[in-house]
Symmetry: C2
Subunit: 437 residues, 2 copies
């Protein structure tokens, strides 16, 4: 080991784990691997827990399973689970086998829950008390735990019965100033808000946001206390989740980042672009139906993208606000009709406001009042189609139990293109028959 490496190792050790992880992820994979092998196991483990899921496999690709197991048993079990599930099955099995039996059991019990549920986010390192414990006993317990192990920040302690069912909650604050002989059963608050282990992460974030908790207890299927979720963990998940919607809307995977290697991005983006191409040809075939009309009246080709584009933009506004409100739980499915009526009202007003401008512009620019009337009317109709599909697409996807954001912008612009082209060219063809120019 050269002098330089020794110095930089020393500097890295003093960083916060999250900052160290950032550094490692900016290095070439081999260098990051080498550092993870050389750093003290506590430091390396804490950093590994903070590495983005996507970068985990290459960081530990060449690591000895025993070294990996050594790192994993030094971090919170839920972080170990997150690391393990990014690994190929062979590596995962080897690392699990190298873990002490007790740690492996803790990891396995967490692995039962999907990543995007309360069970997948919770920590199972919590302190559970019994009703008959005194304040003095609990203080002693906290002292011994603090010496024994790296413990998490806690704000609440949970009281369980013999069957491990949650019966009450005690704040650390109470423990500070209650008399030493008081029992948990007397001082605990019995009205405990909790979530099930299968609760979806969006719902979990909503609970935190709505009630301003610092932590929430998680119960398993039998009502036993299984873990605790901290507000800051829910925050991380909620931010990722909220930005995932904007990515899904435009046909991006939720894992896509600006600096994801291009060869990975191609495989993720191209399929959506091909799907979009199919829908674009469907819209184009509507134009193709009216090629004769365009041949007689080429100014139509100039206005086509205006009609379709304005529909697409208004529709995206409707779509975005509906998806946002669904994601944040501010729009319940029962509100669908109210939202639809509102958006149709907006479509009517915006349609008239834009339709009149486009109609006048059509007349002034191309000198044809017929073109003005046709363009204005098509604009109005397409704004209504945009409002309708902006509401119905996300609600429909939700009904099909798909994320309401999934590729919704592709579906929406298909509707506004097809409808826009059809209204405009259809009306134009009709006008040409009625008012020979």
């Amino acid at each position: 080991m050269t002098e330089t490496t020794a110095v930089s190792l020393e500097a890295l050790r003093t960083l916060h784990a999250a900052d160290l992880a950032d550094r490692l992820q900016r290095l070439p994979a081999e260098e990051a691997c080498a550092l993870l092998r050389q750093l003290p196991p506590d430091t390396a483990g804490a950093a590994l827990a903070e590495v983005e899921p996507e970068n985990v496999p290459e960081m530990v690709a060449e690591m000895d399973p025993r070294r990996l197991a050594d790192l994993l048993q030094r971090i919170a079990p839920q972080d170990a689970v997150d690391v393990l599930q990014e690994l190929p099955p062979g590596t995962r099995r080897a690392a699990l086998a190298a873990l002490p039996a007790e740690v492996a059991a803790g990891v396995r019990s967490l692995q039962r829950y999907p990543e995007d549920t309360a069970g997948g986010i919770m920590s199972n390192r919590f302190i559970a008390l019994r009703e008959d414990m005194t304040v003095a006993q609990v203080r002693e317990l906290l002292r011994s735990r603090a010496e024994q192990e790296r413990t998490e920040d806690v704000a609440y302690l949970y009281v369980t019965d013999a069957g491990q069912r949650l019966v009450g909650i005690v704040s650390l604050r109470d423990l500070v100033f209650r008399r030493a002989e008081r029992r948990m059963g007397d001082i605990m608050n019995r009205d405990v808000k909790h979530v099930g282990a299968r609760t979806d992460q969006e719902e979990l974030a909503r609970q935190f946001e709505h009630y301003h908790y610092l932590g929430l207890p998680v119960l398993d299927e039998e009502g036993r206390l299984a873990g605790v979720v901290k507000a800051s963990d829910a925050l991380e998940v909620a931010r990722k989740e909220a930005t995932e919607d904007m990515q899904l809307m435009v046909g991006l995977s939720g894992e896509e980042r600006a600096l994801t290697p291009w060869h990975k991005s191609v495989g993720r983006r191209l399929p959506w672009l091909y799907l979009n191409l199919v829908t674009a040809f469907a819209a184009a075939s509507v134009i193709s139906l009216f090629e004769n009309t365009i041949a007689r009246w080429t100014a139509l080709a100039v206005f086509l993208p205006i009609i379709a584009g304005q529909g697409g933009n208004a529709g995206m506004q409707t779509l975005t606000v509906i998806i946002r409100d669904l994601a944040l739980g501010e729009l319940s499915p029962g509100d669908g009709r109210k939202a639809l009526l509102k958006e149709l009202m907006l479509g009517l007003i915006n349609g008239l406001a834009i339709g009149i401008v486009v109609g006048v512009a059509g007349y002034v620019w191309k000198g044809s009042p017929t073109l003005g009337v046709v363009a204005g009317a098509a604009m109005l109709l397409n704004q209504l189609a945009a409002a309708l599909s902006g509401v119905m697409i996300p609600l429909g996807l939700k009904l099909l139990r798909v994320d309401p954001a999934l590729a919704s912008s592709i579906f929406l612009t298909t509707v506004t293109d097809v409808a826009g082209f059809f209204f405009f060219l259809g009306l134009a063809a009709l006008a040409l028959r009625l008012v020979p120019s």
Copy 2:
């Protein structure tokens, strides 16, 4: 008061404040106002603190300033500030005048900070200790505070010097099991992470997410402890902020909701649609330049929206991922070149992959190999234009100190429309001259 109202009042009193606020917001304004007047001041105040900012004015429109002041002094000062700033200046002044001088001063000191900064989000109800206080004294202080006032969940206590400057942090946990005679100066942790009162809310959320804190102390310009932000408050802000980006991108105000009354929505959405109309006419005028070409070759009109639309979709993917990474602090401005090279690489590959399909389709569908070559080449060029503008538009907006999401989709589709039409029709015109069909 009728029997029915009395019963429902009783039922409402037992709700969590956040749930009560939800109920009130779903009632007609007059009914909500009446309930706020009839509910006990503690309950009414707590509910008012949870009402969405937008709905605050109509809830308190008819309320007596003394009643309003009574409610405000029962809630956290930062919540009182949030309520006050939604009110018309006259009502605000009347309510402030009716507040006890001490409470009014607390409110005024918070009003100094913009809503979207740490100072605007923090609570100034924190417990500050001195270095020479003993564990026993602090326990006594906590007990007396708990009896005196409704206090917030706390996980940490802060230690300040004579100049109110933050010098250390003590966890409640330490207070539970440390010996009664230990002094804060000995047991406190001197390495305290903190933020400035002017720290932007996005940066604040990043700090919470990165370091997993339960709470963060906020310092004023002179380095004095000014308040504390809880993780759950940062979470609420971060979720709103993240979804605001998807709204700004499509020209929606961040305050827009699915059930915002339509007359408010019209004023917010229509200006953006008009701006978009101007850009649509700019793109249409490109088509207009080539009207003669279209008159000779109407199949071009069929392919126009395919070329432009695919550019728009690919560009939206690039734009979204860049805006997301900028917002979450995962892309530093120095990474701009790297991101641009990646997106151009993707544009080249996607452009070839889609261009070939469109080229073949053009030949098969319309029987013209020239059309195929022109459409394929225009598709490739427009994918490159999409990649370029998808990166440069948000980075450019950031450079201008505007939110990178602001109306960015409108700018982007202007580029992909103008470039798409120009490449396609320009190449077609050239082809017609070289290869007379």
